[in-house]
């Protein structure tokens, strides 16, 4: 060992002087305050970014002169599965002359669901009956969260909701941990206005809007997935195909069962959303779409929902034993969405179930 090994930092000084510490704290306080102010300014100056399907449906909904009697609210499994024309025809057969609307939004998650629910309630065109579907679990993929839509629902007043959504994540713990980490990253980015001035003054953000066939605007919010020729929709045929194994697992009830605490959390969220509608005088029902990938998962939540909300009708179609007709690969476009024919059959069955619920 050379003699340098014993050379030391001779001038021993405290880690940081009092002045230095004060300046560091001052700098950090100014930094945080300025970042928060910038973020607040940006969110007020550039409110919600465009969201495909939602914007058009809100616009159509606002233009209504006569409110719809029944509104189906949920994710793409509502958007692609519930055909209001078939529902209305089915209801007429049991003597109910009602009109329904499909408010399904692709990739709808709980904070966005609450937003949509508020818009419907604010419109004062609330339906007689709201049929709610469990939205998708909290996002796990960072890049998706960093889209304008993702960032909007992870900043400002939505921070609490985003974190609660993670808390109520009914998937595997590893996915929940990843979702938490990535949500926190995006929340920090949004809180500190990361890139917002660049977006305002230099590079306007690409809203990353997935384009959808606009047929739903002429069909009370419904458009079957196999009629939509948008690239990303067609790509699902090869990216996420329905397979015999998925159907076999669903029939045998093999799959992931969520932990009790996350189920309870999710049910509490859903109950709160339903309560908001009930408070406004709307009847509510809980709808579970056929979903071979999530039979075990959905059953756990449905049972808990039924136990907690005994007076809320449950329209459960994700039961291979009672409704085996939906566990046929021929009826599925991909592993999550029924074909147009599947949607027609399901809508007819939903109408029959609604006749029961509405006492006819």
């Amino acid at each position: 060992m050379s003699d340098e090994a014993v050379q030391t930092d001779a001038k021993v000084s405290p880690w940081i002087s009092r002045q230095g510490l004060r300046a560091t704290i001052l700098g950090l306080v100014v930094f945080v305050a300025a970042a928060l102010a910038l973020s607040a300014w940006y969110r007020s100056a550039a409110p919600r970014p465009p969201i495909a399907v939602l914007d058009q449906k809100l616009e159509d909904f606002a233009a209504l002169e006569v409110p719809y009697d029944i509104v189906f609210l949920g994710s793409s499994q509502t958007f692609r599965h519930i055909d209001p024309a078939v529902i209305d025809a089915g209801l007429r057969q049991c003597g109910l002359a009602l009109n329904s609307y499909n408010f399904g939004i692709p990739a709808l998650r709980q904070p966005e669901l609450d937003y949509v629910a508020q818009q419907i309630l604010k419109s004062r065109k609330g339906p007689q009956l709201l049929v709610l579907q469990n939205p998708i679990r909290a996002e796990t993929v960072f890049d998706n969260m960093m889209s304008p839509r993702g960032r909007y629902f992870r900043g400002g007043a939505y921070v609490d909701e985003a974190l609660e959504d993670v808390q109520c994540y009914t998937g595997r713990r590893r996915g929940q941990a990843r979702s938490l980490l990535n949500n926190l990253r995006v929340i920090v980015a949004e809180t500190f206005a990361l890139g917002r001035m660049a977006e305002t003054f230099v590079n306007r953000p690409d809203p990353q809007l997935a384009t959808y066939d606009q047929g739903f605007r002429e069909n009370a919010g419904f458009w079957p997935v196999d009629a939509d020729k948008s690239d990303h929709v067609v790509a699902r045929l090869t990216n996420t195909p329905m397979t015999g194994d998925i159907i076999a697992d669903a029939r045998a009830r093999r799959g992931f069962a969520p932990a009790a605490d996350t189920v309870a959390c999710r049910v509490r969220q859903l109950t709160e959303t339903l309560s908001a509608f009930r408070y406004a005088g709307t009847d509510v029902a809980y709808y579970v779409s056929p979903a071979p990938l999530d039979v075990v998962h959905d059953t756990a939540i449905t049972r808990a929902m039924a136990a907690r909300n005994r007076d809320v009708p449950i329209l459960d179609f994700n039961t291979p034993e009672e409704r085996p007709q939906y566990f046929d690969p021929q009826l599925w476009f991909d592993n999550a969405h029924l074909t147009g024919e599947g949607a027609r059959r399901l809508s007819a069955d939903v109408a029959v179930r609604l006749c029961d619920v509405m006492g006819k």
Binding site: D9, L28, V32, L38, A189, G195
Partner: protein, 467 residues
């Protein structure tokens, strides 16, 4: 791991805290060496062995053969130089030469197949091989003694602030700093923070924000109007300056925070009144390396005008090829070589005009900028035909395209030029560094918040990482 990424800040905070917590020099150097290898492994762990090989080769040759005047010193010296060049050649130029050979054979009517081997370019290889070579050369020239400590040589080559994109530090400047423990109280924290912030803003807030517009123009020049193409060229000049000088600023500041001094790498190059002065201010560590280890050994300006011009051209063309194996870089080097020769000729033939032309510096600066930006076209263009297309527009002010650039380039360029001049003219950095501590803290807090807001989401690698 980029200097502008959050993980670098975490990495550096841990390294700096541990470094200053250690009292002795040797453990500190072990820590820095380990951290440097971790930093490099974050890019590609496979190529760590290449750095270790380079270090071992140059350490052993300098320590046991060249330094002590071994009877085979000359042979060992050239073995080390060719060893370094072989590493560089294999990883950087293999594909270029084989492709050129195949093309040449095809032109002559022969068919050769392209080799199937695909060699990945290790990040920063041009920088650390040049540093390694300068060490052996300096030992050979007796400018420095052979280093006895392997750790010192390893750290000199791999020290993470300069490892992947310079500045190219000289052994004579850096090795003495490693021999004594750095003193925390001597660290100029305010200047280091200002320099880092400046580099961060240049890279992340300016370079990365204009890069998409530059990419659009250079990817499809024929589609854009004359104004858009020229804006794209000028914006690229700003982009590469901010990108590279920003990286250098952050590298120098990072080293400063650990108590080490690196040489200045940029000094307002776009304000240079001649191309000769430009090359004293742009990538100073490379241009001085080329001067000391290539131009002067070739004879420099000692052998008459013709050989001086030949040496200049050789140095600049090889300097161009240092950036990468392509004809574009070769032409870029040629254009700079030609400009330097013309500049020398002008200076000697028209010396009598000195002081007689009004605003001579301004005209000189504008002429230099025109040529430097023209040369950037070849540096940036994806292909030679596209480079010609852009050059034609740049020179003739004619473009067949009709598309405009979706960016207010001219106000930006004017503002940038103004700030660049003001900052240089009034030494803005020193003024900020001398500000009262509380005002400095408030200013840094506000600047940091604004910088983050102007940071585009998604990181772009530094342009010079590919070299």
């Amino acid at each position: 791991m980029l200097f502008v990424e959050p993980r670098f800040f975490v990495f550096f905070a841990i390294v700096a805290a541990l470094y200053w917590a250690l009292r002795s020099n040797l453990p500190r150097k072990y820590l820095l060496l380990g951290a440097s290898y971790v930093f490099y492994a974050a890019w590609d762990v496979r190529f760590l062995s290449l750095i270790v090989f380079c270090t071992a080769l140059n350490y052993v040759v300098a320590r046991y053969f060249v330094g002590p005047e071994h009877k085979r010193a000359k042979l060992a010296f050239w073995a080390a130089i060719w060893g370094n060049l072989a590493v560089l050649g294999l990883f950087k130029y293999f594909g270029f030469f084989t492709d050129s050979l195949v093309d040449l054979a095809a032109a002559g009517g022969f068919t050769l197949s392209h080799p199937t081997i695909n060699i990945v370019l290790p990040v920063g290889i041009s920088f650390y091989t040049f540093q390694a070579m300068s060490y052996v050369i300096d030992v050979r020239r007796k400018h420095i003694g052979a280093e006895t400590s392997f750790t010192n040589v390893a750290l000199y080559i791999a020290f993470f602030p300069q490892l992947v994109a310079g500045p190219i530090v000289r052994a004579a400047d850096f090795l003495p700093q490693l021999r004594r423990a750095r003193v925390r109280a001597d660290v100029a924290i305010q200047p280091a923070l200002v320099l880092f912030m400046l580099g961060f803003i240049k890279k992340a807030c300016i370079s990365d924000n204009i890069a998409p517009f530059v990419d659009e123009i250079f990817n499809n020049p024929a589609a854009y109007t004359t104004e858009a193409v020229i804006s794209g060229v000028l914006l690229y000049g700003v982009q590469i300056y901010c990108d590279f000088s920003g990286y250098s600023d952050m590298a120098i500041a990072t080293a400063m925070l650990l108590g080490y001094q690196f040489p200045k790498n940029f000094d307002a190059p776009y304000l240079s009144p001649s191309i000769t002065i430009f090359w004293r201010r742009w990538h100073i560590s490379l241009s001085s390396w080329l001067r000391d280890y290539l131009y002067i050994p070739l004879g420099g300006n000692r052998l008459g005008d013709v050989k001086r011009d030949r040496n200049l051209m050789t140095t600049m063309v090889l300097g161009g090829l240092w950036h990468g194996a392509s004809y574009n870089f070769l032409i870029w080097g040629f254009l700079h070589g030609a400009a330097l020769i013309v500049n020398r000729e002008w200076a000697s033939r028209f010396a009598f005009l000195k002081g007689k032309i009004p605003l001579a510096d301004l005209w000189g600066t504008l002429a230099t900028l025109y040529w430097v930006f023209l040369a950037w076209i070849f540096f940036r263009a994806n292909t030679l035909p596209e480079a010609w297309q852009i050059t034609t527009t740049y020179v003739t002010l004619q473009s067949p395209g009709t598309r405009d650039m979706d960016f207010a380039a001219w106000p930006f360029l004017v503002a940038f030029a103004g700030l660049h001049w003001l900052g240089h003219r009034y030494n803005a950095l020193e003024r900020v560094e001398r500000a009262p501590l509380d005002a400095f803290a408030v200013g840094m807090g506000l600047t940091a918040a604004l910088a983050i807001a102007f940071l585009p989401t998604g990181y772009r690698p530094f342009v010079y990482f590919q070299f």
